[in-house]
């Protein structure tokens, strides 16, 4: 993985690394991806991807309103202003 590609990846992840973290993770990533590449050789034939390990029948929720009992606790540790949650600038 090139430097530019690695930097682009960090940006997408919203991660900033110290220079020692950067050196370590960059070389780990290279090595681990090489390891990941080994699955290419497994003959999976025409198998479909297993998104879950077991088959699960999808269940649906009836369209009923049930207010959350403890909504006062949801914003307890959050900075608010006139009932709004304060967020960073955009």
């Amino acid at each position: 993985m090139e430097d530019a590609e690695f930097d682009r990846l960090l940006k997408i992840c919203r991660l900033r690394l110290s220079s020692s973290e950067r050196t370590a993770i960059k070389s780990d990533v290279k090595e681990i991806l090489k390891y990941f590449d080994t699955i290419e050789k497994v003959d999976t034939g025409s198998l479909k991807p297993a998104y879950h390990p077991v088959a699960i029948e999808g269940r649906l929720r009836e369209d009923r309103v049930e207010p959350f009992d403890h909504s006062d606790l949801l914003l307890k540790g959050t900075k608010t202003h006139r009932f709004y949650v304060v967020g960073p600038d955009v």
Binding site: V29, T44, Y51, H52, P53, R59, R61, P88, D89, V90
Partner: protein, 428 residues
Amino acid sequence: MKNLGEIKDLNQRLHFFSAINDSAKDAARFSVKDNICVKGFEARAGSKILSGYVPPFDATCVERMAKKGYNFIGKTVMDEFGFGSFGVNTDVQARNPFDEKRVAGGSSSGAAVATAVLKDHIAISESTGGSISNPASFCGVVGFTPTYGTVSRYGLIDYANSLDKIGLMARSSEEIRKAFDIIRGADRYDTTCTENGITDSKKKKLVVIDQLMHGIDDGILASFEALLAKLEGMGYKVERTSLDFIDKAIPAYYIISMAEASTNLAKYTGYKYGRQLDAFTKKYNEFFTEAREVFGMEAKRRIVLGTFVRSASVKERYYTKALKVRALLANKLSELMKDAFVISPTMPIMAPKIDEAAELPPLQAYAMDSLTIPPNLTGLPHVSFPYDYLKGMPVGAQLVTTHFNDYALLDFVGKWEKSFDYKFKYNL
């Protein structure tokens, strides 16, 4: 609790609880891994980014245990978000009660230690790639990981949603069975949790997969052969077989788990819960990046890798291919286990020293999960049970069966327990 003081003192040394419920009653105690929500108790999942997150709700399993009269006694420490095999990837590192210089295993390190030092206690823990089997084996307790989707994940702070399974640790299969019957079963709050009938289809054959026996510590290998001989004496038939691609379960597992983890960890951005920044005048990208600086090394590594393997241009090659490997392995293992259990040691090594474990390069650390990953990747139920003590340290074996045949595992361990003496250093 009468011995609350003693527990707190021991916790000072072994670091298994991140929080203790001072008002808990004595009998029928249960602890909860710190990535599972208990209303009113901080849930950090071993991460600094969740400092101060006090969930306003109980996980379904916690609610069900409390309803049946079990008493919540504390939150148990773990590797950050479950990212680790030795309990060292976090700020509070649990110590093994059999040798305090050694790790307790991971990621449910605190749960295993708590089980090894407390009597009348059940630990609710969680496994993604082996986080129950591994510490259970290092700490000499029974660790049970049910079939994927049998226990509701509502209230579980996600690592990798298609792999995460809430399970149990205890000092006997009997206690596990009781608690399992309480926490399992469909839950409207977790769509992936189903009401499947759990079976008890007993097997007389034990299959050992050759490829899994590579790279195992000699002492463990010898004692495991002795275990097989004893089991043959009990009437089981042991067979050896080959499954040549089973080592590819490890990369497939890490691809899927990292891909999912990198999406789960995206939500930690420093203004809604947990770590709160006050720098609102900063642009959001800068603000989020600053908030996310406190992730540990392993978390950062997995976010980067997980984000990469699901990028559109390489997704087929990594993410999708890994999902196909999972499908293939599930088919092959299920076929193999039609009339047999798969058995292996739980871990390829004895519990390492804490400083050694912390120094392990990531790929070597990942390789330590070689025995626990196959059933975890495929959602197959498995149990780790102690069968021997080598130089004073417990060793465990792992038994795997087909989907939803969970009771058969507990039945097997129950029979084994009749001729095995558990050893514990503490009985608080």
